[in-house]
Symmetry: C2
Subunit: 219 residues, 2 copies
């Protein structure tokens, strides 16, 4: 009576079946862990295959090369980033534009600092020579959320009516810069949200003293 269950145990745990079943997602999911723990440089296809219990040639059926696997991780990352940004940007009654902008900004830097290696991978992948259209689409969908936010700010009269792209780039550069400083430990993670809010405020209202109007610097 026990022979069948013993046999199954052996097949499922000790001696894996010849076909893994869902090697592709197993690779991606393990790869994301390794990415988080060891960075892009610490991610090796052979080690991945070893961890999962499959031969080192097996991943090739699902990813042409290492680059292809990294690109898939990046696409997944952009999709998750987009979700986080859209949730933060979703309308809340009584919330000021500055409040919404701050919330979205904090959502961005939170994602970025929770997934430092992934974020870096996302941008280097997108920047690559032969980046897939799938990757570009995923990236653009993320950015579209932020562009919509700038348009909303202009419509509500809380952002200057200048070139949409220019304003969007400056805002995005600010977020990316804070991210970069946080991920290289130049900003303490405890003061991250506070600094992000301060940066949004500075960007909206300026760092120059506002009490006196354009005091001459000499004479």
């Amino acid at each position: 009576m026990l022979s069948m269950s013993t046999f199954c145990y052996a097949v499922l745990v000790i001696q894996r079946p010849y076909h893994h079943g869902d090697l592709r997602s197993a690779l991606l999911s393990r790869a994301e862990e390794t990415l988080r723990e060891a960075g892009v440089d610490g991610l090796s296809l052979r080690e991945l295959a070893r961890d999962i219990g499959v031969s080192h040639g097996a991943p090739r059926r699902h990813f042409r090369d290492r680059r292809a696997l990294l690109d898939s991780l990046a696409v997944e990352g952009f999709a998750r980033l987009r979700g986080a940004l859209e949730e933060a940007a979703s309308p809340v009654p009584e919330r000021s534009f500055e409040g919404t902008l701050s919330t979205v900004a904090v959502a961005y830097v939170t994602f970025a600092t929770d997934n430092p290696a992934l974020l870096e991978l996302m941008f280097t992948s997108k920047h690559q020579a032969g980046a897939s259209t799938e990757l570009h689409d995923a990236a653009n969908a993320s950015f579209a959320t932020m562009a919509a936010l700038v348009e909303e700010g202009q419509a509500r009269g809380e952002l200057t009516e200048g070139d949409l792209e220019r304003i969007g780039l400056v805002l995005f550069a600010m977020l990316q810069g804070i991210t970069s400083l946080a991920n290289t430990k130049m900003i303490d993670s405890r003061q991250l949200d506070q600094l992000t809010g301060y940066a949004v405020e500075a960007l909206l209202h300026g760092l120059a003293p506002r009490t006196e109007s354009a005091a001459g610097s000499h004479t």
Copy 2:
């Protein structure tokens, strides 16, 4: 009469002397070229040794490992960055604070986009676990230039009297963000200086319309 010069030719060009003479600087200088052409990932100690014409074990006398060579490149990079920033910040009669700040900002993003792989290496090296004090000192010397600029702005009454570190971080984040966008080709290099100037202006005077003072968003 020709035998001596022929001998020298053979020694110097065909058959290299056993001792290279200045292998350390030869490695660093070739490494910087490779870094520029192929990025950090494309830099291999063995290839470097091959290019210079020395055995693959030779670099070990001068750099304990690959990391040590990269760190030396980073230190060199911070020294050059500091030079560029100090030149841009050096006093010019009749120049407004905003003018100086813009000039320094442009100097930073110019260095960063002229040496994209080097800049990335500089920050990842500094961020490393066992980063040398030499590296930290070189990095801090670069940042000190920018901190001095913020203090000057406050002294001239053109920057709000808030926390020096907070203001410095926001400014620096902006520059680092623009750098990141430029190096991933999200900003066209032709409009880089212009956008940098615009970002400085936005940071000083704000992106919110200034004609009406704090218009309520509802009611």
